[in-house]
Symmetry: C2
């Protein structure tokens, strides 16, 4: 190999053009594609299966923390949005608005909208207002609290510049909404759900995240406090992977969520909301994938092991397929994580080298190519997605069966470790405004930057000029206080800065 | 009890006012309620949990028949809908139309829609056209076929008169969409998915259904053939519980889904679509429930067994809760159907008679009330939803653990049997138009009516005048031919008629 240019399955490589590499991985792994509807994507079966695995794990965590699923209307009356001033300000510019409820033949033969609505309806960009309206009916007494609900839904935020998974007009998400009798309880909930997201990111996505509070300038419209998990992508840009909002009494006052406390006094409830979306699939891709395509942490991989039978004639086919089927029967009984090993045979009529490359690009953790000689030797010829495509070898059949779950665990752990090491190598402590400016002025500026800074919109314009954003005020390892490098204000904690998606 | 008027948990009873009884069961079982958005419902946690159980079972069946899940856009460009003439005719009158993509302050201070779209977007009433557009990109050669996809989604059909679950502006459903190289294969698929629906209805919902073809007048707009499963509700009205459409080449021509066959010739694909919706929850309710509220077949019950601890002081509480917890630990390990027994303790601070009645109204199959004396005697005090609320008794603890799965199986089987017996008792063979008219002219007209009749819109107006619809042309037991009772046309099979939801 020495001296020879290594071919990659994805063109361009990450180093050559990261944004274009991203699009190509999404395409070659069959995750999603653009639709004829501007800004809306089609999530293809490979992408949707990852989302279903994310949903299953998150649902388990939500349930364990006492939440139940429900479903609220897609449409929100315009007047509901208007009730919370910051909220409407935040979302009015990107709302799909339904104004009519039928189509009629127009003057030139084509259809035109008809049946104008008395009040326009907005397609939900988020559901605080409509869910709050229901909570206000359900909450009468402190005995009705807390309400701990979640919904899985599609939401729409009109976007002009879209990118598959990362920013689309319609996306899928979950939104948790809770109501509590006290501020303390609501704050505990807000933080608890941020912890659920961190644990999910670490344990399931193998994606390290930093937890922190958003600065005033970056808060959710209408929230008192927004907490977030922030991840670092391979190109050194940050990605907000999940948020949890302490809404105080803003929405309960706007929607009149009131209750009689145990002293017989009327009180407004304290509410929270929290969400993650299909954006996580983009984050997953940009955390682990390589120049050969998607790399999936085994705990999210729809298929753990793909078996590719190789034969030249019907006699060989019968022999090989028998062997493969008995292997699948044994392996699929083996426990792995919360379920069992997912293994399947791909016996489609297609060149096996094509198949091998497709599964590499799709990120399947383990590939087994099995021909008559493997059957005779009672081995499997194994390729692993965490090794070079050419680094393959024989493993005795029984050994493979006994160790496959361990291999997957090892791959999962190694992905997290690698991503952590990458983040450590790309996190910088900066102690002066000059060094900050110099760092981000460079076109190659890449990584997380920590510096003592005030939570103050005063230097927001300066950040904008550098195309930098405050990602969060980290919770951990952030006790030491020092003056703000921008304003000189004393006693500031560190804020995490980065260029961001 | 003799001579005394029996109290029921639901007022009115079914006999007194069936539609109002339905609303009250939905309310008292906490399944759903109306939202402030006209025609849109909120599916509450109890209702949504039933839907999730339905989804899990259907997903397993779809996967076993080779289908994969994906997700397509919520919005459909108006021009797409127009491409298939019958389709647009069928849906134009009930479309939510998005015409703007932002809100702006208007002249009088309130918000007004702004950012007018060049082409209005329709909120999907069904997705044949947008999915067809994607299929046309994905299908080039016969090797790309079949495509076997499903999506779980919300859809919107503007309804003026709505009823929770049965007819709402927004509802949740699954829509399967497939493309095939031959008409034969597409027809096999259409029928296969109807069989999946029937099996699901029988095995999981304990709801008997009749399979058949829709008459020409009742076909899906754009379909060549529509097949349906039809169920009979307790009030003698029919409910269409699922449909499977053979779309021929209508949509593949409208959307240009073309492929090169193995002879190198261009062909249009043959497509199908099939769906069931949250309407099934209404069907479930009207198949099994009684004057005390919801009755759930155990295979769809989110909780199989609820344990209600009863105590007077902290000492009793500790004793009773210990006993309950160890019971829950043992029972929840017991296998049932595709998973395990779902059992939980309700230790909320509330009168236990209130709790008992709530679980009766919510349809929980088994209730255990456990107090200190039960602990001392090592028994559980059991109430079953299939028996009278007052018919409760002691069961030795170990016996309960050993037989709980059998009890649930027995309840599941008994529900199907009872529903089948009801349908048999309310299915009538009618051989003349006079008898048909007399039957349906009565205000008490209730049940399925079978008669030999032509699949001919000629007598459609007559049916309308009687408020009767042709439900389907049953597949089974329908070989004998006879003249149409309406038109006299010879050689007709039987058609199933009923008043319907």
């Amino acid at each position: 190999m020495a001296g020879k240019q290594q071919q990659t399955a994805i063109t361009p490589t990450r180093a050559e053009n990261y944004p274009e590499w991203y699009q190509q991985v999404v395409k070659e792994a069959n995750l999603a594609e653009s639709s004829p509807v501007r800004g809306c994507m089609v999530i293809k079966p490979n992408g949707y299966a990852i989302w279903e695995n994310m949903q299953a794990d998150l649902n388990r965590r939500f349930k364990e923390t006492g939440h139940v699923n429900a479903y609220f209307p897609l449409f929100i009356p315009m007047s509901f949005l208007e009730k919370e001033a910051e909220h409407v300000e935040g979302f009015a510019k990107e709302c799909a608005v339904v104004t009519h409820h039928r189509l009629e033949p127009g003057p030139d033969g084509g259809l035109v909208p008809a049946g104008k609505l008395e009040e326009p309806l907005v397609v939900r960009p988020t559901s605080e207002t409509i869910i709050g309206a229901m909570f206000s009916k359900w909450v009468q007494s402190y005995r009705d609290l807390p309400i701990l609900m979640n919904q899985w839904a599609n939401v729409v935020r009109w976007e002009l510049r879209t990118r598959l998974f990362l920013r689309t007009t319609e996306f899928l998400w979950q939104e948790g909404h809770t109501a509590h009798a006290t501020a303390e309880e609501a704050l505990v909930e807000t933080r608890q759900m941020l912890d659920v997201y961190r644990d999910f990111a670490h344990e399931i996505m193998a994606m390290p995240v930093i937890q922190g509070a958003k600065t005033v300038a970056e808060r959710f419209p209408g929230a008192v406090d927004t907490m977030a998990i922030e991840a670092l992508m391979q190109d050194g840009k940050a990605l907000q992977a999940g948020t949890s909002h302490f809404l105080g009494q803003n929405f309960s006052k706007a929607q009149s969520i009131r209750f009689l406390d145990d002293q017989g006094e009327h009180q407004f409830a304290w509410t929270t909301s929290w969400g993650v979306s299909t954006r996580l699939i983009g984050a997953l891709l940009m955390t682990h994938s390589d120049d050969d395509g998607l790399v999936l942490p085994p705990r999210l991989a729809p298929t753990h092991v793909v078996v590719l039978p190789i034969y030249r004639d019907d006699q060989e086919r019968a022999l090989v397929l028998d062997y493969c089927k008995s292997l699948v029967a044994e392996v699929s009984r083996r426990p792995y994580h919360e379920g069992r090993i997912s293994i399947r045979i791909d016996d489609k009529d297609e060149r096996s080298s094509n198949k091998v490359w497709r599964y590499i690009k799709e990120g399947t953790p383990i590939r087994l190519e099995i021909g008559p000689r493997d059957v005779a030797a009672d081995v499997v010829f194994m390729g692993r997605r965490d090794k070079s495509p050419r680094d393959k070898g024989n493993v005795p059949r029984q050994q493979f069966i006994d160790t496959v779950a361990d291999i997957l665990d090892e791959m999962q752990a190694a992905l997290l470790e690698r991503a952590l090491a990458f983040r450590q190598a790309h996190t910088f402590q900066i102690d002066s405004r000059e060094a900050f400016d110099a760092f981000f002025a460079s076109d190659d500026a890449s990584g997380f930057v920590l510096c003592h800074a005030a939570d103050d919109p005063a230097y927001e314009e300066h950040l904008k000029s550098l195309k930098v954003t405050a990602r969060c005020i980290p919770f951990e390892d952030n006790e030491a206080l020092a003056p703000c490098i921008f304003t000189g204000a004393p006693g500031c904690r560190k804020i995490l800065f980065a260029k961001a998606y």
